[in-house]
């Protein structure tokens, strides 16, 4: 039997239908790979029994000649903030270290409905706050391309698992870049759809007006296949609109001739490394060869993105995490307490890590009486202008292209005591979250240190198919996605 490690979802599905191997083979290969590369610290818990059971069911369906979904029997992983009935769902922290999900998140229910083989729950920055996976209570995730480097964050475990061949896809969340930024640093595809396109019901919330769920895969086609299963309206998530879900693979393969690409100059400013700029510009040049028109454009509000983000998301996070008080949910402190407040403080003080405490403090401050107008409300007004700026630019351009991350990588521990330096690493991914527009990161080359670089493609709201089509065209014209780390 051929090596199953690096198959795409589409290839694996084809192999299943041709009976070249079984779903059980795929799932077992996934667990073997996870074990062989466990030093990466990508998984917090494995769901081996459930995954094998799903695979056996799929194998029986294939034997009976039934039609199966492309995700059926395919090994995938979940960032550990997705509730999957009966599994620990820690959000990467001590606070929810004992929290066992009593129900399935909508996306998990949808994956189970097509007999996807979910192999486990993945390491992440605590409560999805971080850009390096260093805020996890459960230890660093290592970057498969260089184990001294961070994998990015907050979906660091999910991305490193895909990049290292442990699983064929993961589901992550993106609030300020948490799917795309690690995807860039680990050389895989990370797709954040429009706000509300995929239900967040059952995904532990970070910042509710910013949180997005999306796929991490090794090819663009695979991202489309996962989207086909997880997208759509959900009565349990009031932010999901009643807009029909197309077949996201339908436009793949279409020509780039006449496509209008805008390149926002504010995404190539100081703070973005020269090697990243150069590699991304070469990728954009490739689109010219493919027949697209490329023009520079200006989005002057880009520089306010990080500030908008670090006012509004801590505000929303501080309220979302208020329910974690050691009574119904959360770490329970031991000892004698003089009153209930004292008990809350002890539970929360012990249960949360440093970054979460920092953000709860910022969030509580910006929402407090006397400051809410100057900080939170002003930030949400600037956000309105950011949305408008994108709307205007998409009247002239089909898509925007830019780097995903300002750097190709950095060492574990390098920035850990400098919160503002960490926050700046989301400068190029935050704007698409602020405006709720679909954006993807795809591998577009390697720097001199052998680290992957990501090209970011953004489109207007609900134009997922266009973004995927454009990303796919580059992928088909290049070989970057076929390179894998040696582990």
């Amino acid at each position: 039997m051929a090596d199953l490690t690096w198959l795409s979802i589409a290839e694996a599905h084809k192999g299943l239908m041709a009976k070249d191997f079984s779903a059980e083979d795929l799932v077992k290969a996934s667990f073997e790979r996870i074990k062989a590369t466990e030093d990466l610290n990508t998984f917090l818990n494995l769901t081996e029994e459930e995954a094998i059971e799903a695979a056996k069911k799929v194998d029986a369906q294939i034997a009976a000649g039934e039609t199966i979904n492309p995700l059926a029997g395919i090994p995938g992983g979940l960032k550990d903030l997705f509730n999957m009935k009966g599994t620990l769902t820690t959000s990467g922290g001590l606070m929810l270290g004992n929290y066992r999900a009593p129900y399935d998140a909508t996306v998990v229910r949808k994956l189970k409905a097509v007999d996807a083989a979910i192999v486990g729950k993945q390491n992440m920055d605590e409560c999805a706050c971080g850009v390096s996976n260093e805020t996890s209570y459960y230890g660093n995730v290592l970057n498969p391309w260089n184990k001294e480097n961070v994998p990015g964050g907050s979906s660091g475990g999910s991305v490193a698992a895909v990049a290292s061949g442990q699983v064929m896809y993961s589901l992550g969340t993106d609030t300020g870049g948490s799917i795309r930024q690690p995807a860039a640093l680990c050389g895989v595809v990370g797709f954040k759809p429009t706000y509300g396109r995929v239900s967040r019901f059952g995904a532990n919330a970070m910042a509710s007006s910013w949180d997005h769920v999306g796929p991490i895969t090794r090819t663009v086609e695979d991202a489309a296949l996962v989207m086909n299963v997880i997208a759509g309206q959900d009565i349990y998530d009031a932010t999901t609109p009643e807009i029909e879900v197309p077949d996201y693979t339908a436009e793949l393969g279409q020509s780039m001739k006449g496509l209008k690409i805008g390149v926002p100059k504010e995404y190539f400013v100081e703070g973005v490394d020269e090697d990243v700029k150069k590699i991304v510009m070469e990728a954009i040049d490739k689109y010219k060869e493919l027949g697209a028109e490329v023009k520079e454009v200006s989005l002057p509000l880009t520089k306010y993105g990080v500030a908008v983000y670090y006012v509004t998301t801590p505000g929303e996070l501080s309220t979302n995490l208020a329910r974690l008080d050691g009574v119904r949910f959360g770490h329970q402190a031991e000892g004698e307490f003089k009153d209930i407040h004292d008990y809350f403080k002890a539970c929360r003080g012990e249960g949360f890590g440093q970054e979460i405490k920092r953000r709860i403090l910022v969030g509580t401050f910006v929402l407090s009486a006397g400051y809410a107008d100057a900080y939170y409300k002003q930030a949400q007004k600037v956000r309105t202008l950011v949305i408008k700026e994108f709307e205007d630019v998409f009247k002239e351009f089909d898509v925007l292209m830019a780097p995903t991350s300002p750097v190709a990588g950095f060492k574990i521990g390098e920035k850990v005591n400098d919160p503002l330096a960490m926050y700046a690493l989301d400068m190029l991914t935050i704007p698409a979250d602020a405006a709720g527009i679909p954006a993807i990161s795809i591998p577009c080359g390697f720097n001199e240190d052998g680290l992957p670089v990501g090209l970011q493609i953004m489109g207007p709201q609900f134009e997922e198919s266009r973004v995927l089509k454009v990303a796919h065209a580059y992928e088909q014209a290049t070989e970057w996605h076929k390179r894998h780390p040696e582990l």
Binding site: N98, Y103, S209, S318, Q332, L361, V362, Y375, Y423
Partner: protein, 96 residues
């Protein structure tokens, strides 16, 4: 905007967040830096601009307020908790 250690203590109390003296010492200058950084938002003229609360423009999304136990039954909910179950209820620590 400069946050003193007393400010941090006050905010931590509002958030019901226990902090050690070392944390208070560390967070005061870090929070000051963060607030000074986001100060740039005041440069933007937002006269007459509505704040964003929902980016795709949905409003007043409602559904019937009906009890739905299809996702999880009360028994399943009890099973997932680490807390002791007494009389079909969870027993929590004495609070008062």
């Amino acid at each position: 905007m400069k946050l003193t250690k007393d400010d941090v203590k006050k905010i931590a109390h509002l958030a019901r967040l226990g902090l050690t003296d070392e944390e208070i010492e560390k967070f005061a200058p870090q929070l000051t830096d963060i607030l000074n950084y986001v100060e740039m938002l005041s440069e933007v003229d937002t006269t007459g601009v509505e704040p964003t609360s929902q980016v795709t423009g949905l409003a007043n999304v409602t559904r019937e307020d009906e009890v739905d136990q299809s996702l999880s039954t009360p028994d399943e909910l009890l099973e997932t908790s680490e807390l002791p179950v007494v009389d079909h209820q969870l027993r929590i620590n004495r609070m008062m």
